[in-house]
């Protein structure tokens, strides 16, 4: 039994749980008045469950090497981009920089490439920063359950893995090469992550790959399944709307700001306890307006290229062709590695924290201590 069977029932038989039927009604086209009422409900539920607080985190890109071709992603293996994999020491320097800015929650992100981003490498990165970063999460290529357990053992608390699209056929069209082509293997990642001991699991879909209502219903079904089968984990969802990236992909489907708001609020009303994450892909004006409505966790000042915070790794830039490193004829003076996508909100973490305070939110940087799992408290060795 896995979520694969539930998804098949939804797709083939039109099956809906009572909860999903309620959710489906909430994401039907709505009048402005109905949307306003939904937003008010969502804001109130969010305050009750999460208070007047906002958690902050930063992504730290370890590597932009990848064996997959994903039509929408700048890191696709056939894109001739400047690539690098940071050394563990360079990762530590990036993490120290983020810690100095206030971050106590870091998401380690890497493309999927067993040669450059090996399991041992990821464990070493986690272990190297966990003394000063209380919350470490990972967003990397899918793993088997025992590998996930080793990441937890190394000190990772959270796992982020987006299905990208829940539309099986579209998934096949977008993912044209690499191990990522296996839809079901990816779909079962959150379950394997729970079994491996992660306490927090982030799931999501990229908005733009299929009709958003199609995606949203299945994302909600995934959440409902996980709450029932992995009841001890905390869940977060994210709905990244596709941004310009290398490869010049044009999303086939769009979603208006009003629809985006409707979806966030509908998720909140149906899942009062779910964390909703908003990244710097969205514009400053929209982010500011969304903070009170249902969002519980945000990134700020993000870079989506390895070494983006400090310039680490610039001396090692190269191309990767058919899995092999190819040296550049001339190293660029003023550029680092290529990012995964362009960010829209470039405001600094301090500016975002100030803004949150002005909006009546307490920015929460630290909300976890690895001491719970037997490690020394963060900072003890400093």
């Amino acid at each position: 039994m896995s979520f694969v069977e539930t998804l098949n029932r939804i797709d083939r038989d039109g099956w809906r749980s009572p909860l999903l039927r309620r959710f489906e009604r909430l994401i039907e086209p709505a009048t402005p008045a109905a949307l306003e009422a939904l937003a008010a409900q969502s804001a109130a539920i969010t305050r009750r469950h999460f208070g007047r607080t906002m958690r902050l985190f930063a992504p730290l890109y370890l590597s932009n090497e990848c064996v997959n071709n994903c039509a929408y992603c700048g890191f696709s293996r056939d894109n001739p981009i400047l690539r690098v994999t940071l050394s563990v020491d360079q990762v530590v320097r990036e993490a120290r920089h983020l810690a100095d800015q206030g971050f106590r929650h870091i998401l380690l992100v890497a493309g999927e490439h067993p040669k450059f981003v090996s399991e041992g490498y990821l464990e070493a990165c986690i272990e190297a920063i966990r003394d000063f970063i209380p919350t470490v999460a990972i967003e990397v290529g899918p793993m088997e359950m025992p590998e996930y357990a080793r990441m937890v053992q190394a000190g990772a608390e959270g796992l982020v893995v987006y299905q990208e699209t829940y539309h099986r056929e579209a998934y096949g069209e977008y993912h044209t090469a690499g191990p990522k082509r296996d839809f079901d293997w990816r779909l079962e990642c959150p379950e394997r992550g729970v079994a491996g001991g992660f306490r927090r699991i982030g799931i999501g879909a990229l908005v733009g790959l299929a009709d958003w209502r199609f995606e949203a219903l299945r994302l909600a079904a995934h959440l409902e399944y996980l709450y029932r089968h992995g009841w001890k984990a905390t869940y977060t969802v994210s709905l990244p709307r596709l941004r310009p990236a290398a490869g010049c992909f044009q999303p086939r489907h769009s979603m208006t700001d009003a629809e985006f708001v409707q979806l966030i609020c509908a998720l909140r009303v149906i899942f009062p306890q779910v964390g909703i994450v908003l990244s710097t892909r969205e514009s400053p004006a929209l982010r500011d307006a969304l903070f009170p409505l249902g969002i519980t966790s945000i990134s700020a000042g993000s870079h989506t290229e390895p070494g983006g915070y400090t310039g680490e790794g610039r001396d090692d830039l190269h191309l990767t062709v058919r899995g092999r490193r190819v040296e550049l004829d001339e190293k660029p003076e003023d550029r680092g590695a290529t990012g995964q996508f362009a960010i829209a909100d470039e405001r600094s973490p301090a500016a975002i924290a100030d803004l949150l305070c002005r909006q009546g939110f307490d920015p929460v940087w630290k909300d976890w201590d690895p001491a719970l799992l037997g490690a020394d408290p963060v900072g003890a060795s400093a």
């Binding site: 305050r47 009750r48 469950h49 999460f50 208070g51 007047r52 607080t53 206030g102 106590r104 306490r199 709450y227 009841w231 001890k232 984990a233 905390t234 306890q273 305070c357 009546g360 939110f361 307490d362 929460v364 940087w365 630290k366 909300d367 976890w368 201590d369 001491a371 719970l372 799992l373 037997g374 020394d376 408290p377 963060v378 900072g379 003890a380 400093a382």
Partner: protein, 261 residues
């Protein structure tokens, strides 16, 4: 003047315990604590810097005056007895009082306490000399066993799930806990309005713990004041002896009074 609340070897004037999560800013939390009149303030250890390094990005403890309040560390975030015990020890090592609000909720959705893990952790911590205030479901048998076998200083049954503001959903069970208690009963969680707090005190609960209702109020300071007054009113009413509620009317001027004039 209401009687004092005695927990373990300490006496308190206020019967309102206040939590520190969900406030819009540390300053508003500090001001609300002052307005509430509370003397016991609980803090989630996972949000604090436990290394003694005074992390400016995890400085919630700096807004709580330890001279004025008893800081009651809580083990929120722990999912097992082992994790809770570890956190309590860590707090004591970091110089916090050797008191602990023991909360173990493996279910992050409803935050309902795990009775098996809580009982196990309570036994270990009391044996190590901690003053243990366990957060439990409103289960009278568990409450008795915690008092008698684990030696906890209070029991803290929930009125409703944390943050739900639903009031005393578990009222009938709490009545039994109060009737059988040999330690103070502190109703924790679910108290969403001052009237809920007053109701708990009127029933004979020794104290209440409130967090969400104050923290997310439009004006936390005024709400904290409202809770202070409600707790005082509820306790006074309890000590005076509330008349029994009845279905029929009872005239304040008796109909047969003339017989005895």
């Amino acid at each position: 003047m209401s009687s004092l609340l005695k927990i373990a070897d300490r006496e308190f004037t206020s019967r309102l315990l206040v939590g520190t999560g969900k406030f819009p800013s540390p300053e508003s939390m500090r001001d609300a604590l002052a307005a509430s009149g509370t003397e016991i303030v609980t803090v989630a250890l996972r949000r604090a810097d436990l290394s003694g390094g005074r992390d400016p990005y995890a400085n919630i403890l700096e807004y709580i005056d330890p001279e004025r309040y008893l800081i009651l560390p809580n083990t929120s975030g722990a999912m097992t007895a082992d994790e809770a015990v570890r956190l309590a020890r860590l707090a004591a090592t970091a110089g916090l009082p050797k008191w602990v609000k023991l909360e173990i909720h493996p279910d992050p959705t409803y935050l309902l306490p795990d009775p098996i893990e809580t009982f196990a952790a309570a036994k270990i911590l009391t044996a190590e000399g901690f003053t243990v205030l366990p957060y439990i479901n409103a289960d009278p048998v568990l409450a008795k066993r915690l008092q008698e076998e684990a030696g906890t200083a209070t029991v803290m049954p929930l009125g409703a799930p944390i943050g739900s503001n639903r009031g005393l959903d578990t009222r009938r069970q709490i009545e039994i806990i109060i009737e059988q208690a040999t330690v103070p009963v502190v109703v924790d969680a679910g108290i969403g309005a001052p009237s809920h707090a007053a109701e708990a005190l009127e029933m004979g609960a020794d104290a209440v713990l409130v967090n969400t209702a104050i923290a997310i109020a439009g004006d936390p300071v005024r709400m904290a004041t409202a809770f202070r007054l409600a707790v005082e009113a509820g306790r006074s009413a309890y000590e005076c002896g509330l008349p029994e509620a009845r279905a029929d009317a009872s005239a304040t001027s008796p109909l047969t009074g003339f017989l005895y004039q």
